[in-house]
């Protein structure tokens, strides 16, 4: 049963990867990166049980905690870039 779930997760990862490669907007790519992260968490948990070493769930826990940072960093980058462009435009107008 674990195998089936792991396979389903892997296929979903492949689908998310296709979406990440195709875009079209950057937000689609962020979405698929985020989704990829949660799918990795699921995959790692399933495989930890598949291999009979449930003590390795620490890894999945690390991803569950850390994955958020990447997405927030990207969104913060967007916003600060928008702010920078706004500032540049207003500076250009005042010149």
């Amino acid at each position: 049963m674990y195998y089936a779930v792991a396979a389903a997760t892997l296929v979903t990862m492949a689908l998310a990867l296709i979406r990440a490669l195709r875009g079209p907007t950057v937000y689609d790519r962020v979405l698929s990166v985020n989704m990829f992260g949660t799918k990795t968490v699921l995959l790692l948990s399933v495989i930890a049980f598949l291999g009979g070493r449930p003590d390795f769930l620490d890894l999945a826990l690390a991803y569950a905690l850390i994955n958020f940072i990447g997405v927030l960093a990207v969104l913060e980058f967007f916003k600060s870039r928008a702010a920078r462009r706004l500032a540049e435009r207003s500076r250009g107008e005042s010149d």
């Binding site: 990829f36 890894l59 905690l65 850390i66 927030l72 960093a73």
Partner: protein, 329 residues
Amino acid sequence: MTVLFGIFLLTLVVITALGIVHTKNLFVAVMLLGIFSLLIAANFFLLDAADVALTEAAVGAGISTVLFLGALALTSERERAATPHRWLSLAVVVSATLVVLYATFDKPTFGDPNAPVHQHVGPWYLEKTPEYVDIPNVVTAVLGTFRGYDTLGEVFVVFTAGIGVLFLLSGGGPASPTERRARPAESAIGLRDDLIPRVVARLLVPFILLFGLYVQFHGEYGPGGGFQAGALIAAAFILYALVEGEGRTLEALPRKALMALTVAGALLYGGVGLAGIVLGSEFLDYSVLASNPVKGQQIGIILIELGVGMTVTGVLLSIFHAFAAREQT
């Protein structure tokens, strides 16, 4: 079956790498690099390298994305020029690929227990760890005591790289101080006034810190150790900086404290090594640290892992702050 999963994942890795090289948008490349790192970590896990997968998880998922984005914010997001001499480079690369592929035919089959690698010191470490060190995690034992010199060297490389980044980026930027002061109005647009991510991130930071400490001090028993813990703790502070701003983070952990942490970690490692000499043995021989040699080894490993954790946290956070401070000038 797990081998098939591995092969599927490796194929995805190759596709992602092709996507990274193909795209002209550096921003997209960085995001695909995040996916690439996730895939590589899953592969490490499938290849029975739990410690390595945890390191890749701690470093690849957050910190490397944040650093690349920091650099992109300071440079540009698009690759402007077309690739010159494309066919020449492609020819060189393809012929090199063929050479490497030819070499792979001499490789032992995947997972072969009789491969030359497994005839060397690896089995000795597995056999002797219970006797000499008596901790369950052989990787930590090898890292801490059997190959303590290597790890010391790596810690100093990390240390030097951190110093290098500080030298490069902490000098005066191109902007004048007056422009630096004109910043607050812009920064109000950041993530800082987005209430929901801010609350959730605040909630999450203590848990990441706690988990980092768990990874640090549980490294003898499960996957973990100083390198992973350092990256996790740095990631927690980076998350805090993303939602609360640079200033608040630097209030919590000022630059001077970071510097002290970095240096103290490296000194702790070296000091434990010297303590071995002072107590009448060799450099980085921990067995004299306690009356019982096995106990001494365990104490030594805990101390040097602590040193590693401190240095890695300090260096990664200093690097992050160096990039972020540039961004504001």
